[in-house]
Assembly symmetry: D2
């Protein structure tokens, strides 16, 4: 009996975390084979990661075979789980997603606003192709997608590929739970958050500690900048008392883009002047990480990795695969079809929800109607996501334009076009669907 | 620290089952106080049950104080759980619910058709009054309703009383799971059924054994009368191959009233001729049970109790209370607000669904849209239930008439009136809401 | 400029009515060409009708060219309107639709119950083929469908053919308006009924005479058998006071099948014993009509035609074509996509609704939510209709079975199969979609 | 027989237009009595308008009695129509609605953004009180509301007052139809626009001229600033080719606030610097209008009135009253309950829709689902409107805050509070519901 995991984008600097997760859970989730897959441009990194992973496994003394390859189709044979952590166009593309919007006075960000839209445009066709391969080669395998914008990408996959065993994960719900535990001085294992919304736009509605509702306490502590609640890549600006008291919801760190747009923009422009884009900061971080990884003495995931925004992503994924494999029926927060859990949103909208995890997939636990305060904006964000997916598939200029126009961070009829044209040109090499239509 | 359970209708012959359940679970669910409550007419039975319960507890050596009383309000003080198993009008009323429809050529039954409607009419006002008492006296207590028609009663309580900590339970999902386990020759603990629908109209959509989908196997075995799948009070007539192959669903035993109406009616009329109504059979069963209960040597729930149709009801309830108390987050099948779990039905419809059980209540797991084959009928049954609740509250003659008219087992404009008039007259003493309107 | 009408099923005994309607409206709706189309089996009738029509036009002195043909595709060239009044399998098939259900104790009827289901099965594929021809040959033409079951057929056409210019018409709303006018002693032109529901299951919600709400008055008069409200082919059994007072709705004549099932069945069985099926009665009526039509002196629609149940159908259709042609924006009751007019039903359900008639199609006037009393049954009927359409297209045995099973007039798991098998066999020659699947 | 119209806010400079409309339509809509009502602060203007109106009527020689009063309740006796054109706080309040947001860098406007929200806060309680008076004193009267924000105010009235005969009107659909006619060089009477959305956020979906779809032609002409399409109070900035080609919709003039926010803001700030707020411009306009009105020789509505943004408002209202009175069943564009016409929006949302106008009220013609491009934003605007209504009624600080926060023109968690506090203080005298709560 084999239990095989294929890691697409295996040359990512995050991979040691997932290897560590697999080793740690080996008793309950006894992976026998891991194959790291990457594209030619990433071959060198792939080898470094492969070597480090081998050393980590060796140290662990777990019976796991690990190899790496550029031959994706071959790697997929007999796979049970396929995780995806790719970045089409690399950090250079991310840099453009950040820089170009900023240069026009808009939030420049890799998962939200114009940058996030273009990351979706570049990523969706590539992952749909992967999903089709999985469906042909290893149709029983679960595809665990961490690639951002994770919610949009997961909805695109579930709607436009035949492979339906796809689950999206993000570290934000994990981070919110851990931060909340820290706020309350309790163990994260005892904390449950009732989430409502979708990836990067999810709110916490209730916080339970061992079943006791402690939401009010958490909300009080969130006021002002008393508590930093955000992952490494997002500087928290603090939430006002009025915002918290009026919504009675825990915002997620990305909400600052929408509710503190002006301040974030100023801060980001300042940071850009000082350090360049986040992509460039990450570029340096990556380089020093790979410097570390290269060290033949290193046989563990280095602490430095946690400085990346995506820390714990892989932990979330390992925990999910463990529950699927063991049909645990425990509750985890993942991205899957709504199916009525939030009755205001379409059944086939992907939401980020607490789900029962079984070996036949996640099933969201009923959330109930959106609170009146946020229902309009959440619905709009979902409608916007549909436009992004539509344009990613159609490659139609007008579809792409309406996606930008209807994003609350853009929404300007003339500047939407300016941004669109400049980003289409900048990312040309990675947007064949648009080029082929001769726009 | 006390943990107090109040059993409304404590003089019921089922009570020994609940006492046994409490004793058995005492390690995880350490009840300290039980109060049995009944009405004056039931005082004698109450005493017999009280005495037997004391003997059972004594034998168990668990530190549980048990008492009985006719003073409901006093009993509720400091209650943590209140279970309800009442029968307004007693078995005599049930006998009328069965006899009168039969005499006009309609299904005579205590939970479905005209009989079920009148049981709802008699029960709902009484239980709303109880719920209001709970809300005033012990607002944190969970009300666990087993009183039939359990789904309709639970919806009425959740919609028309201030007390929102109300959960409805039925033994049908439990029985279906156990019967299915028997069919497959596996332990019931390893069987999960994905349910869809509402109380007494619930279907099984999927059967998983340790996460493996074995639905097809179960469906095959359900064909014909090869397997008896029904509780003690319902004689199974078998399901045709075509029915099973066309719906791909596990019917519940009550579905025979709707899909095998003519045969059931013939069988029931025959049975009535031979043995009188089920109420009368039960009357005798009850008498012999109480004969047994009276025996001062008896210190256990007697086997004979399992012949009653409601067997395991109390087991279901004890298991539910245990999970609430311990905030277990396990999955149980209960009656609660839909909240989108079945997107075709209103959010505030009570459905019978697999729920995560927490100490702050059950949350249904998303079921998804109703299959095209059954969606019309399920929706109609729910709309009918709303009419029953409406009439139970309003006491309006026309409301009651439309409830009968829109029941698929009645649906005849002239005979609906005949049934209505005869049943209103027969149950007059227990329908003050109708009388006061001078109908 | 030509204005061409093609009448599919032109050999029907109803055709003189439509010819008369065209002549009468010639000033506002100046038809220049009429082609009557029929199949080979109907050639003789086609000629008789053709000759009579020519005599009628000649008498009118209107400049209308009329011809007849068996070549449907050729006839469609340059058509502006195509009306359809066909009967696949002829009156012989109708006789089976009536006789076979009756023989098993079910309503035997050509538009409701098992008979109606099979009429849909026979008709839908034929009319979809016609719609595809129209879409290819005369894509701007409006298809006006009178073929029963008109609502189901229209929904099937709108959902399963590319041609979207399809409108369904029925004489029931027309008859209800006229009967109501008679009840009130006013001119039908001044009466408006607010309809809710769908074809053959439509209710009147409000009656306005010159804008004055006189609903109560009409409801009062409907009680009992004081007033006969039905078309020629349906014997009215009268409505009970309680039914009318509880629903506050005007039933349509077909509602007696659902709410007076037992009485109708007895009456129909009695009539069957005395006169054979309605099909056989109609057969004789038809023969004597054609006897009249053959008379070369006849130059008008004979009075005797009004005895047929479908009287005024053609009048409804002519009035509709007139309003489309002239973009009148007047209100007529037709069958078209719901699009939210009744929010409880799907957007793509075909309903029978008051619509604004324009030259770009009918647009329903918002009706609002279904009353609580009927919403369950109306929804179920619509879900049942979807099953009929599904089976008509798929030719799948199980699909056909669930259609019968979920019809409120059948609903029996064993007898549904008996009826299905016997009707499938009886209508074999006209159900190629079922035969080809080897059921 | 009397036909009595009461004009609330009769001292408005717009009143001569409504008087002219009444005179012009007197043959079909024979008003016998007009009472102009205003508050004490408006007494002087009321007298001037009253005198002018009398001269207009005298010149017309129509048998209309006209009077004026400050006694609203007395005026309402026997009213058939009540029109409302009030401005709580007068132009001074409007000036604050414009100035305060502008001073913080937000759109300052009387019907949109923070200004529109506060106009709603001031107006809704006053008009609910009026509606209650109507319901008591003249329950059969139709209340025709022109008071802005007309859509929000109408929804508030229909949801929160017992009087349900309330219709909202706006001149935007009228202007769009007239401008479109001008673009196409045809008579406005032959132009129909299919509208979708709600007041001040309505789009044109299709343009028909005598039933011929000429939408494409109109869209082409809308590109750029070739055509000015806006009412007097809104300077048109022109729409980009991409915007028009991507949405395929006719925007309304107010859409520039949402899609051209930056440009409008710059233009408005510039205009403010040069001429003060629009309120101040209007103040001067009003003064010169009243100067004209005072002239005892003036016996007609002066041309100068058309320079006001609200021109034709009264014409729209007169035409509406005429159709109600005569039960015309013609199509007009008014604000009323959605009831499914746009299935994406709640049934009880007020939308701006083409309606059949009858003497028992308007009924929207089914519009169908919102196009994917705009559905998110339209839904959000409606959800925002619900928050405004909620806050207008509750007077709750947090409710008011979320209304500002969720407005797409504000949406900033810190500045929403700044705006809210400053506007609450500025409008204190007209916001008793907020003051009484001690915020």
């Amino acid at each position: 009996m084999t239990l095989k995991l294929v890691i697409i984008g295996g040359g990512s600097s995050y991979t040691p975390e997932i290897i560590e997760g697999i080793i740690r859970r080996h008793d309950s989730f006894p992976v026998t084979d891991i194959v790291l897959v990457d594209i030619e441009a990433g071959q060198k990194k792939l080898e470094i990661i492969g070597d480090l992973s081998l050393r980590m496994i060796e140290k662990s003394a777990k019976p796991i075979k690990l190899s790496w390859t550029l031959d994706r189709k071959r790697a997929l044979i007999n796979a049970d789980f396929v995780s995806t952590q790719i970045r089409v166009g690399g950090l250079e593309a991310r840099s453009k997603d950040e820089r170009i919007p900023l240069s026009h006075g808009f939030i420049g960000q890799e998962t939200n606003g114009a940058g996030g839209i273009f990351k979706a445009f570049r990523t969706i066709p590539v992952l749909i192709e992967l999903a089709e391969d999985i469906h042909t080669i290893c149709p029983d395998a679960w595809m665990i997608n961490f690639t951002n914008p994770a919610g949009i990408v997961t909805e695109a996959l579930l709607k436009h590929s035949a492979h339906q065993k796809v689950i999206g994960v993000c570290n934000i719900p994990f981070n919110m739970r851990h931060s909340t535990a820290e706020i309350l001085g309790v163990s994260p294992d005892n904390v449950k958050i009732q989430f409502i919304g979708m990836n990067h736009f999810v709110f916490g509605q209730k916080v339970f500690v061992n079943g006791v509702d402690r939401t009010e306490e958490v909300l009080e502590k969130l006021v002002g900048d008393h508590f930093d609640y955000s992952p490494a890549n997002i500087v928290n600006l603090g939430w006002s008392k009025t915002f918290i008291e009026s919504t009675r919801l825990l915002p997620n760190p990305y909400h600052q883009y929408y509710f503190q747009t002006k301040e974030v923009l100023e801060k980001d422009l300042q940071a850009y002047k000082e350090n360049g884009t986040r992509a460039e900061v990450v570029q340096q971080l990556e380089e020093s990480l790979f410097e570390l990884y290269r060290n033949p003495e290193l046989r563990d995931k280095p602490k430095e990795l946690e400085k990346r925004g995506g820390a714990f992503y892989s932990d979330v994924a390992c925990s999910l695969m463990d529950s699927i494999y063991n049909n645990k029926e425990d509750v985890q927060t993942v991205n899957t079809f709504n199916n009525g859990a939030i009755p205001d949103l379409p059944n086939d909208a992907v939401i980020e929800a607490n789900c029962i995890i079984t070996n036949h997939g996640p099933r969201p636990i009923s959330v109930g109607p959106l609170p009146a305060t946020i229902k309009g904006l959440v619905y709009q964000m979902k409608a916007f996501e549909e436009l992004v997916i539509q344009a990613s598939i159609s490659g139609d200029y007008n579809d792409a334009y309406t996606a930008l126009l209807m994003n609350p961070l853009i929404g300007d009829e003339k500047r939407s076009k300016v941004l669109l044209d400049e980003l289409l040109e900048a990312h040309k090499a990675y947007l064949p669907q648009f080029n082929s239509r001769g726009n």
